[in-house]
Amino acid sequence: MTYDLSIARHTFSLHPHGGIFWKEKSLLLISDVHLGKVGHFRKFGAAVPRKVVHKNFILLDELIAHFQPFHICFLGDLFHSSLNKEWDLFENWVEKTASKITLVAGNHDIIAPEKFQDLGIEIFEALALNDFLLTHHPDVRDGFFNFCGHIHPAVRLRGFGRQRLKLPCFFKTKNQMILPAFGEFTGNHTLTPKKEDEIFVVVDNEVVKI
């Protein structure tokens, strides 16, 4: 169900939930969870199904149970908006999760850093590990391979008989890997791959390389 690939002699496992596991570092990368989005909408009078809130945590737990990472790094947009009661659920989740947690801040992360620090979560603008650069916004720097989020990438596929499909994906260019949005109820943005790009679509609990 996962898809392994090697980048600069390190091994990475792509999970259909939308996470990437870096084996050598036992580091799990997750991007654009947008926690609190459902609560935010509901607070403003849009009745998005409440059950979605729990689904995000269930998916996170499944992912962690699968890889048992030493370290989890969120690549930004962990929270969708200002503080709401989903933060309490997040606090509970952090408490019962054994892994070390870091956040590379994204444009949506407007909650006070102290709130995260109180939970033992460190916040960075960007994080460089070996030859890898972890950011929220795509950022290509010489000598680094970039892992990032923000885009919520998806691709459109065409088939015989005028078939069309749009699917969320991991989008890899020469020096960059954009992660799909992890959260339920997050939406996506279609990218057009170039020849040298590698696309890994997420479908029915499988990662399929195109």
Binding site: F44, A47, R50, L157
Partner: protein, 819 residues
């Protein structure tokens, strides 16, 4: 003053104009003054406005004999028009009466175009006679103390009721009326409708099926017989006339002599983009028309539209290319000729358009039908019969639209609040919600207050709150504001306004189109070539360009389906082709096409049901020809592909028109197995059809409007530049989360019911299948596309359907991408 004296006032006014009141006008006056409610069936331009403005005014005189000295200010009557463009005309006719009779009454308009100062003035005091739209009426109900403002209102007239019936704006009207019946002390409700198939039902929907108003009501028919002459423009060179296409530009040269011959010609197109293209092309090829020709459609700005309408009246225009934006509204006397480009998709609409010409009494209305492709000539031929038999369609009213009801309840909560036990009987009395159950009602109230059916501690859902005395109200200003914005968006897509960089509003355009433009791209809009500069706020900035382009914005126009009557006429017309008897000149002109059709296939006779199959580089085409009209084909294709999918999983895209439907797949379908398994059977039809909806996307599309109307998706307020980006989500995304997490939600369910009742017309499908059962099935495997199949296989607007595993499909698709 007695009735005789009152009538005298009206009669002498008519005399002073040099007119004589029609029988239907007098009949309406009498009924109104007798305190009756009713529906007036009269066509556009027949003097229907005077049929109702007069009794309203006379009634005022009767009840206020001292009006010259003692005029009480405040609202007396409301006139509802579906198109705000028409409000000026209606105001003028009201003012004319008020001025001539020297009444101290004021006439005012309140629509989306009304200035803020005017609106502020109306907040304190509404005019005596108010002209407004269904949305603006809802907005009035969303304002504080509305009950007092409406208390003395004695009449509500809903103009062009046929246009509202069968739309969600029509439900807004039903709901508003249900409230005003209680609020106003002596209210009369009147509707005005063009001829439709279900006039009696139209009256029921307007007044409430079991209401006392319904019992005390009349149906007045104008019965103005109008001679209509239909002639088709038949291509001179049928051999080169295209098999498909929707623009009809091949016949442009044939249109010119018609335009030249008559005083003013209206050219009706079906879409705004088609309108833009025709306008452009005529000017390109016949520059001498510059200055004598204009364009009119709903996205052109208001000033230009008014200018065009006045220019038609002044006879300063030779031709106007327009869309349904000119279907309604007052008389344009100078119009002598009407040309309909492409199938009008409805007899009522065709008649209405024809009626645009030859307005003087006794004159014949002339309408030319211009086919855009060869097969449409069959339609032209059938239309002539339909006009003769007056085979107009029904407008099907909605039932149980929870989205509109939620919107309305929020409206009431925003203004003065409401008590459910007072509102429930009112709602239950409307046509739309006559079947609503106590459980559903409770569900809706829970949804408004809790955003779900049970309370959870971490939930911060906030919309409507319940006060200690049980009153439902909105206390949060932000929610009230967003709700008011949302009321106007019951129709249409997210639209952006188009401006010149230096300022100057040109019109509005759908976001979808703009999203495909890159800076520097040139597109045609409002008859100009415009270069796209950027989007700022919710405004599209452009500058004039001299570059030529073929980019024309597309607006999602309604794709109407023929009535069952019209479909039958069409079918009979086509069957005539197989017998070579009683052929119209349109059919004779098509002989060449029929010959081509017979090369590999057949022209079916009444007892034959044709299926064609062939392969092209697009995939495997399977084409079925029931000739039952678009709606039935949509349903039948959905049903059939679902049943085929039971034999073995398939993925296919569906296309349909009024003649048949196509299933395009990447694998060949075993037609013999379809026939052997009797897949056209009516057994289990209903449940199969229901199940088929899960595997295609029709319901998903319906959900879009539902999500907006019920206030779950915020569109912002483009014209005011107010975005609510942090609250924007796509209805697609919402549909997915509802499907996965809350499929029992009534709004989610509604998407399916609406598809089912409004799009698929289950009853007609059954009859169609029964007819097919009596026919001999002729299956023709062909080498290439036949003329009949051509319009279908080239249709790009398709339904998708699949019951295959996604992963399997992708693996097949990948192989294609890899090569």
């Amino acid at each position: 003053m007695n009735r005789q004296q009152l009538f005298e006032i009206a009669n002498s006014w008519f005399q002073n104009q040099g007119w004589k009141p029609h029988a239907f006008q007098k009949e309406t006056w009498t009924a109104f003054l007798h305190g009756k409610h009713g529906l007036l069936n009269a066509p556009t331009g027949s003097g229907k406005t005077y049929a109702l403005w007069f009794p309203i005014v006379l009634n005022y005189i009767k009840n206020n004999p001292n009006y010259p000295t003692k005029h009480r200010k405040g609202l007396k009557a409301v006139w509802i028009t579906p198109l705000r463009a028409l409000s000026q005309e209606i105001k003028q006719s009201a003012e004319r009466i008020v001025e001539d009779l020297e009444l101290p009454m004021t006439v005012g308009i309140r629509t989306g175009d009304t200035s803020t100062t005017e609106r502020a003035r109306q907040r304190n005091l509404l005019p005596d006679l108010l002209i407004t739209t269904p949305e603006s009426l809802q907005l009035l109900l969303a304002s504080k103390d509305y009950a007092n403002k409406f208390k003395k209102c004695s009449a509500i007239v809903v103009d062009e009721w046929h246009e509202l019936l069968g739309t969600k704006r029509g439900i807004q009207m039903e709901l508003a009326l249900s409230r005003l019946k209680t609020v106003c002390s002596h209210l009369r409700i009147w509707g005005i409708s063009a001829t439709i198939g279900n006039l009696e039902q139209a009256r029921e929907v307007l007044l409430g099926p079991t209401s006392s108003e319904m019992k005390n009501s009349v149906l007045v028919k104008a019965n103005l017989k109008k001679k209509i002459k239909v002639s088709s423009i038949i291509p001179k060179h049928m051999e080169t006339f295209p098999w498909r296409g929707h623009l009809g530009l091949h016949l442009l040269d044939d249109v010119i002599p018609i335009i030249k011959k008559s005083k003013t010609t209206l050219l009706f197109t079906n879409t705004r983009s088609q309108c833009e293209i025709w306008f452009q092309k005529i000017l390109e090829r016949y520059p001498e028309f510059a200055g004598e020709m204009a364009m009119h459609h709903g996205s052109v700005n208001k000033e230009t539209r008014i200018w065009v309408e006045n220019a038609i009246r002044n006879e300063s225009l030779k031709a106007v290319v327009c869309t349904s934006s000119l279907d309604l509204g007052v008389d344009f006397a100078p119009v002598e000729t009407v040309i309909q480009i492409g199938g009008p998709k409805g007899v009522a609409r065709f008649l209405q358009r024809a009626g645009r010409s030859g307005h003087q009494p006794g004159k014949t209305s002339v309408i030319y039908f211009l086919p855009t492709h060869a097969i449409e000539l069959i339609e032209a031929s059938a239309l002539q019969v339909a006009v003769k038999e007056n085979a107009v369609e029904d407008r099907l009213p909605y039932l149980n639209s929870y989205d509109v009801l939620l919107q309305y309840l929020t409206t009431l909560a925003v203004s003065d609040g409401f008590y459910p036990h007072e509102i429930y009987p009112e709602i239950n009395g409307t046509f739309c919600y006559q079947g609503i159950t106590e459980e559903e009602w409770q569900w809706l109230l829970n949804f408004l207050v809790m955003g779900s059916q049970s309370l959870k501690s971490y939930d911060e859902y906030k919309k409507v709150e319940v006060a200690s005395d049980g009153k439902f109200e909105v206390n949060n200003k932000g929610i009230a504001m967003r709700h008011r914005f949302q009321i106007g968006t019951i129709v249409g897509d997210a639209s952006l306004s188009v401006h010149y960089q230096k300022g100057g509003y040109i019109g509005s355009i759908e976001e979808y189109f703009v999203s495909k433009l890159n800076p520097g791209d040139v597109f045609v809009f409002a008859g100009r070539n415009l270069e796209f500069i950027r989007i700022r706020g919710m405004k599209v900035q452009v500058r004039n360009s001299t570059k030529r382009t073929n980019k024309v914005p597309a607006w999602a126009g309604g794709r109407l389906s023929f009535s069952s009557q019209m479909s039958e006429l069409l079918r009979l017309e086509l069957y005539k082709a197989s017998t070579a008897q009683n052929q119209s000149k349109e059919l004779i002109a098509l002989e060449h096409i029929f010959d081509k059709q017979r090369e590999e296939s057949i022209v079916p006779s009444p007892d034959e049901f044709l299926i064609e199959t062939f392969k092209s580089r697009d995939g495997y085409h399977h084409i079925f020809y029931p000739f039952e009209g678009r709606a039935v084909h949509e349903a039948m294709s959905s049903l059939l592909s679902y049943r085929i999918g039971l034999l073995s999983p398939i993925t296919c895209s569906l296309a349909f028109n009024d003649y048949g439907f196509e299933m395009l797949s990447d694998k060949s379908i075993d037609i013999q197995a379809v026939l052997d398994n009797n897949l056209f059977s009516t057994d289990y039809m209903l449940s199969d059809l229901q199940k088929s909806l899960n595997s295609n996307e029709m319901a998903r599309r319906k959900f879009r409007d539902i999500a907006v109307i019920s206030g779950m998706v915020f569109t912002g307020y483009p014209e005011k530049g107010i975005k609510m980006k942090h609250l924007q989500s796509s209805s697609q995304l919402l549909f997915d989360v509802f499907r996965d997490y809350e499929p029992e939600n009534l709004l989610f369910q509604q998407a399916f019911t609406e598809t089912f009742e409004h799009q698929l017309e289950e009853g007609r499908l059954r009859i169609a299948l029964e007819r097919i059962a009596t026919q001999e099935i002729v299956w023709r495997p062909c080498q290439k596309a036949t003329p009949f199949s051509f319009p279908l296989i080239t249709d790009r607007l398709r339904e998708k359907l699949s019951n295959e595993k996604l992963a399997d499909r992708i693996k097949r698709m990948t192989k294609i991408l890899m090569k």
